[in-house]
Symmetry: none
Subunit: 201 residues, 4 copies
DNA sequence: TATGAATGAGCTTTCATTCAT
DNA sequence: TATGAATGAAAGCTCATTCAT
């Protein structure tokens, strides 16, 4: 008998991904602090207990969500940055900002910012920082290389990276809430501001 | 029986303030997401029901806390800024950053950053933005005036304000977590970065 | 308006007693290991949350039940024993056994033996022992006094007390299960056995 | 691919014994009320479903454990008793008590007493009694024979057996909890008490 | 203005059992 | 004989909110 209907049992990683997808959907609707495991299992069309076959706890699925979110965006950004010439520093910065912004403002990701920046969950601080940390570290490396190459002025690359990363995300949040209409214009303006911060004296 | 001790009934605004103080203490201990109305009423030495005489809900007291926090810091910052000469734009910016930073990093306020920046509470997003908004607006006005006076370059003062405000807070958060040891040095570095952003071309 | 219906709010100790009574009933039906807090609250006609206003946990109500059970029986037994002449040692032992047995075999208490002797709850061992301990200690004192007075032979009163107390309870359990028909006959037989154990050589 | 390692399928009785052994280990660690089927299957290195191929339910494996425990002890005790001369009644009683006690206090069995005497599991009462019953019956037979032979006084051998069996187990429990240091001394004292109960008038 | 007992929906998590393979 | 993903009822407990006094 060929598999009619959907098989009730699926490979672990498939189920895991489905749960993650369901969790993402639910978080988008109710926020990190406001969703329940029941919401997720209902959406994923599985039994409550099955959730715990794939995630250790409610917190664990949030952590996984965060990780995946950052990972996805960063790897895409990195790809874009790498298409620039290695010594085209402003081009790389431009790519970082423009594509990072575009990705975060995409319909799929827009609402998920809450996950990353408004942690909520009591014990989530460290992880939040970790996720943040990935993005900051990536930007810091770019800045440090550019500064070493003499293209930019940045006596403390880590500080500048935190500064810019936070600035970008703040603007992003603001744009998300106030319904930014022209991402292109916004990106250009931000790139200009970033360049100012890094401009050699 | 003569009424010994303090009278059980107090003016509404006194009680309100007491509850707010209790809430602040509790939030500092347990975080926005981790405190309960019971915690607050116990600390304020009132009955559970009395809480709802002064605040509509748990969320309402958090909102009030946020508002008061921003208000306190901003009014202090405004006072400091106003001691500068009206046309000493860099001095005013310097005062804004330096004293804002100092206030936020003070032992009393450090932990309360969580309230402002890690909303947690499910429906808190709007209020969070509102509180944010006050700080951003204040900074925006300063930038707009300086730009109009020709001291700074800022074609979109609102955007620049969001940008800088977010950057500062991001650095602040990072400093809070990583245990910044030298607030003075940090402030100086930040002021330098802010000036770069605003420097006339 | 005169209190029609029953007042929803009652003095704490009244409610506590009602919950205890409900718990007793439920335990009698389902056993210590098989009852749930929901069972109790349903029976007591209160909300689930109200239970936790009066007892810290499920275990706590079981402990209270145990304590009350032993207390009730022991105080009654002590009263009966005290009606004997202080030097009528066999009379006191007779009273201890006869009335203890009668009380435990009474319809009200019969099923509750399970609470005392088949602890079940994981962390209950110590408390179980404690409750046990009360009965054993009471018997031990009687034996020690009788031995000191030269009426009985008991070189290790504690050991003899544990021995007899366990024996009596074992017989009791057996009687409860096999549906003993003649408590009087049983008591007489047991008293004879106890006297043998204590008889001066 | 040649079948390396042990074959996955084993004779039913071998598997059953392995599961029983695993269950014993787990119960010793977590208690009757605190272990789960998962614990057992993990320990036995089988799948969860396989458990139900060999035991009807969780309760069934506990019952089997009880039965085996009593069986083991009793058969050992019976062996020891049978080494005495058939008319050496006090010797047989001595052997019964001494070896029963020694076996129960042995490191291997000490913790398993919980299974027999602190049922825990909701519907365990009947089975508990059954296991008890085996020991009591064994003792009853010995007593009845001794009484018939005129060596002891026991007008109701069943009652006396329950009495002594319970007494011994009560002392045993007490010893287990209070950390008895000298089993020999304890056994001697208990034998003395048992003899008193049975002594011809 | 103040009380605090009472509520009850809701939470996360566990686990004995089943069944398609 | 063996598997283990899936189930789903049920558990203990929390807590924002209400209301009769």
């Amino acid at each position: 008998m060929p598999s009619n209907a959907s098989p009730r049992t699926k490979p672990a990683d498939v189920r895991r991904r489905e749960i993650l997808a369901a969790a993402e959907a639910v978080v988008r609707e109710k926020g990190v602090g406001g969703f329940s495991v029941s919401d997720v299992t209902q959406r994923a069309a599985i039994a409550k207990g099955s959730f715990y076959l794939h995630f250790e706890s409610k917190d664990a699925v949030v952590a996984a969500l965060r990780e995946r979110f950052v990972e996805d965006i960063l790897s895409e950004v990195a790809t874009r940055v790498d298409t620039c010439a290695p010594d085209d520093w402003d081009g790389q910065l431009d790519a970082w900002v423009r594509h990072g912004l575009a990705l975060c403002l995409s319909p799929r990701n827009l609402a998920l910012n809450e996950i990353l920046f408004h942690g909520g969950g009591a014990p989530g601080l460290r992880e939040d920082l970790t996720s943040h940390g990935r993005g900051v570290a990536h930007l810091r490396d770019l800045i440090a290389r550019g500064a070493t190459a003499g293209a930019w002025s940045a006596s403390d690359p880590k500080l500048v990276a935190v500064f810019l990363y936070s600035a970008l995300h703040g603007v992003l949040d603001h744009a998300a809430v106030s319904g930014e209409d022209d991402p292109e214009r916004l990106a250009s303006a931000l790139i200009r501001l970033c360049r100012r911060v890094l401009k050699r004296d």
